[in-house]
């Protein structure tokens, strides 16, 4: 399998910087923001975005993680998955603007599950979606608000996001599946 690098470390950090500015612009500052990453890699993206938001706005932004395993619609079709921890910042999400962070947006089913999970935790004022890569092929009426890179892809291709926190380096590759 030959994998082609589509985003290098510098591209990823530029994309996240831009997304952070876009979030501040659309939200008019960092007030009432809560960042929630979707495990596994969304959690690290959320943490990086939170750090950038704090750097640009001077205001601390609560960050947490939101596991969606228990809300998936394909639990009976895939091998059993172990849930990951969900951590909601102390202030909760009621009345806040929640930014969901994920690495790749594909069918939209993960985000559908995340919206259900959020509904059981509280009632945010608004929910926005930030994703590092949007590869298309949506199966649900869901669209991202903040995108690092649009990557039109074929369904037979595989997009692999690697982050330095778990994979040792930052890069996004695209390759054919076996």
């Amino acid at each position: 399998m030959s994998a082609r690098i589509v985003l290098q470390q510098a591209d990823i950090s530029r994309a996240l910087t831009r997304i952070a500015h876009e979030i501040l612009e659309s939200n008019r500052g960092a007030g009432d923001l809560v960042l929630l990453g979707i495990p596994t890699r969304g959690v690290y993206l959320a943490a990086r975005l939170a750090a950038l938001l704090e750097e640009f706005s001077g205001q601390e932004v609560p960050v947490g993680s939101l596991d969606i395993t228990m809300y998936r619609d394909d639990l009976g079709r895939i091998p059993t998955r172990s849930p990951r921890p969900t951590s909601i910042p102390a202030g909760g999400i009621d009345g806040k603007t929640v930014i969901l962070a994920d690495d790749v947006l594909y069918s939209g089913r993960t985000i559908r599950a995340a919206l259900d999970a959020l509904g059981d935790i509280g009632r945010p004022r608004a929910v926005r979606l930030a994703t590092l890569v949007d590869r298309g092929h949506r199966e649900l009426p869901i669209r991202p608000d903040f995108v690092g890179k649009n990557l039109p892809s074929s369904k037979s291709e595989r997009i692999n996001v690697e982050l330095v926190e778990i994979d040792g380096e930052d890069r996004v590759t695209i390759g054919e599946t076996l």
Partner: protein, 318 residues
């Protein structure tokens, strides 16, 4: 996992996985909306041939929190009292479309029979069979110990290596004791069983535990966990000990013995308690007691077991 029948053959990795998933389930139980949509459309049958309140409602609460449909079946007042066999009952449940059967039965091995028979395709959870095993009770006990010893936030992935657990009482009839001995051994704990010689089973030498007849000697070793077992009045048909006063004096956890516990030692009891017999009210209500924590742990652990049994593509159906 296909079934949960005992802790003796449960691998250490599977046991830790259940305990870790139970941590996630426990987190969801702190939320405003406690219900998860995970097992929507699945049917769980509680098949209880023996009386039970807390285990049955705990399984019922666990299944309902995961959005499964629950059917309660108790032998009393059912076709079983008209003489229906386990096979016919199982096949009836299969025809109804049960995805999991939680079974409590007076005969040791009944859940194994159900799982191995081919009468029913559902996942089988043993909720206590005769004097054999009660795996979810042992798992909830281990979960409770792990949370008290490592702290609720820091328990994931941890075992009970080096933890000294004393189990006191009717070991002979206790499936809770058996399940705990096997599970605690695979989690690395050191187990001491304390009982009058008449309440110890034949063949106990082969268990991964040490045996003592003297509670005071064992308590002097400063155990981390003291687990008191219920004196099961319904099984006390022979003269296992002269009278309950004598039992209480030699093997009961009274206020005076409670006062001798030091450090962070905890007192456990699977319930229902005979206050004044195996445990005093002072011990049952002390800050060392985890009796109510065990009940809430029970719901989390059973949610984890139901999730692991009922979600996921089945290997034999691939």
């Amino acid at each position: 996992m296909r079934h949960l029948l005992d802790t003796r053959t449960l691998s250490r990795a599977d046991a830790l996985n259940i305990l870790d998933v139970a941590e996630d389930m426990a987190d969801t139980q702190l939320r405003e909306v406690k219900k998860l949509p995970t097992l929507r459309g699945k049917t769980v049958v509680n098949l209880f041939f023996e009386d039970s309140t807390r285990t049955r409602i705990s399984f019922e609460a666990a299944a309902k929190r995961l959005s499964a449909d629950v059917i309660n079946f108790s032998a009393k007042g059912s076709s079983v009292s008209k003489g229906e066999s386990l096979k016919d009952t199982a096949q009836t449940l299969a025809a109804i479309g049960a995805d999991a059967v939680v079974i409590r039965h007076g005969a040791s091995g009944a859940p194994h029979t159900l799982a191995a028979s081919g009468w029913i395709d559902a996942g089988i959870l043993n909720a206590g069979d005769g004097t054999h095993e009660h795996p979810t009770q042992a798992l909830l006990d281990a979960f409770t110990m792990r949370r008290r010893i490592h702290g609720a936030g820091a328990s994931r992935g941890r075992d009970l290596d080096g933890v000294h657990v004393v189990i006191v009482g009717d070991i002979l009839h206790s499936r809770v004791a058996r399940s705990n001995v096997w599970l605690l051994a695979s989690l690395g704990a050191q187990v001491t069983l304390v009982a009058p010689p008449t309440l110890l089973p034949v063949g106990i030498e082969g268990w991964p535990a040490t045996v003592s007849y003297d509670l005071d000697v064992v308590l002097a070793e400063n155990p981390d966990v003291v687990m008191m077992l219920r004196i099961q009045g319904e099984r006390m048909h022979d003269a296992f000990f002269p009278n309950s006063r004598e039992y209480s004096r030699r093997w009961g956890l009274d206020d005076e013995r409670l006062a001798r516990l030091t450090g962070d030692s905890i007192v456990m009891h699977p319930g229902p308690m005979n206050r004044g017999l195996e445990i005093s009210s002072g011990a049952a209500d002390s800050p060392r007691s985890t009796v109510l924590e065990q009940v809430s742990s029970g719901v989390s652990v059973r949610m984890a077991a139901l999730y692991l049994l009922l979600s996921g593509e089945r290997e034999d159906q691939r």
